[in-house]
Symmetry: C2
Subunit: 245 residues, 2 copies
């Protein structure tokens, strides 16, 4: 028996998220199905980030156990032959038998992309959120600085979260602007349910001038979801980096 | 009567190209259908670049005549309400009654995108060509320099072209590399059938080291399509700029 770690990239557009569901196709279901067929065993992967419907990933992580004699690093090639074009394994490696991706310390980086312009750009529509109103990126950067560090992020968490604690650490938030595209990159040790999309929604309110950057300190302190901005749509969100530390 | 110029952006993935066809949906057909319904007249647009099936555009140009009393600059907003999500008008303006986009001098810029890596990246797959072999971009730049200027591009033209002359002027070729993505940007006064995709295919052969950069001068001089590289797939190609001069 060996444990294999996969790095999994996907376009989430056509999926009901990562996690197995009774109805609707998911990334986890695709991996289980094609791994089981390839290795002729019943394979059930354990995922690292259970991304929501419509969210994308360059590097989500999954592990599984197998008795195959196929070398671990060949599995990526064989599995990609079977997977649909919108899921591609980026690597497959043998790991320690007790490696569990959700029990290891990690740094995850998400990117939220916003296309600002008079009209949407079709070739960007699947991987960004369209906004008509221009954003003042310097206000967003000023606000983002208040969120860095260890805080109770209850204000930035959907009410149906089942997390035991709402304390998380954000290592950094970068806001990049290149022509019409604004990208919010957030690194942290873990994220609450919808946290990145709510932070993005709040930074957008600030970028539009709806309230001043320093207001985000009050929002954070209030621990009240109602005070923060809206949850932006899933299509703008991508898991772009995942490092175990 | 007024003549209106549209700037049209589209994701070409789902279309059989720009031009009207008996079978298969095209950008031109979508524009004619939705403009006719919006303005309650029989509208037939004239396109500037008749892009192939699967090719994308940020700024193709179409003109049409109408008797509507709707201000020309409002048509973009109204038409975008009706168009599918993969086509978006970027602007609509009144132009001179004799303005014809294919009879005006223009500078067109196409970009061909290549994703180089061990495996494809799903979120880039629709707008780039995947290559396993790494590319030496400095060789490609050296080769590209030979193509700049006024030349007979018969070697870089599909044999089923109906062009009267195969002489064109390339104003510049830039090759940009950023992480896994290599982008070939070509500006010119006009392009032969499949010319950008054949130039990209030839530069890729050189970037792989199949033949040296200076060989491209012989290929150009031979006026022989067989000497040049393959026609790369449509999905990697986007019309990114269109200026009338």
């Amino acid at each position: 028996m060996m444990r294999v770690k996969l790095i999994v990239a996907y376009d989430g557009t056509a999926y009901h998220g990562w996690q197995l569901q009774k109805n609707g196709n998911t990334i986890e279901a695709e991996l289980n199905k094609h791994l089981s067929a390839l290795l002729e065993e019943d394979i059930q992967v354990i995922g690292a980030s259970r991304t929501d419907a419509g969210v994308h990933a360059h590097c989500n992580v999954a592990v599984f156990d197998t008795v195959t004699r196929m070398p671990a690093e060949k599995i990526s090639y064989a599995l990609n032959q079977r997977l649909p074009e919108d899921i591609r394994i980026q690597s497959s490696r043998r790991v320690a038998d007790d490696f569990h991706p959700r029990k290891c310390k990690s740094i995850k980086t998400y990117e939220y992309r916003i296309w600002c312009g008079e009209f949407p750009m079709p070739t960007e529509r699947l991987y960004s959120y369209f906004m008509y109103t221009p954003l003042r990126v310097e206000w967003m950067r000023e606000a983002a600085a208040y969120l860095e560090g260890k805080h109770d992020f209850a204000s930035f968490c959907s009410v149906d979260s089942q997390a035991e604690s709402t304390v998380r650490t954000i290592y950094g938030i970068e806001i990049l602007e290149e022509k019409n595209m604004v990208r919010i990159r957030i690194s942290g040790n873990g994220f609450l349910y919808n946290m990145v999309r709510i932070i993005a929604g709040t930074l957008v309110e600030i970028g539009k001038g709806k309230y001043p950057p320093e207001r985000i300190a009050d929002i954070l302190e209030s621990c009240d979801r109602q005070k923060a901005g809206p949850t932006l749509p899933a299509r703008g969100l991508t898991l772009v980096q995942y490092d175990f530390i």
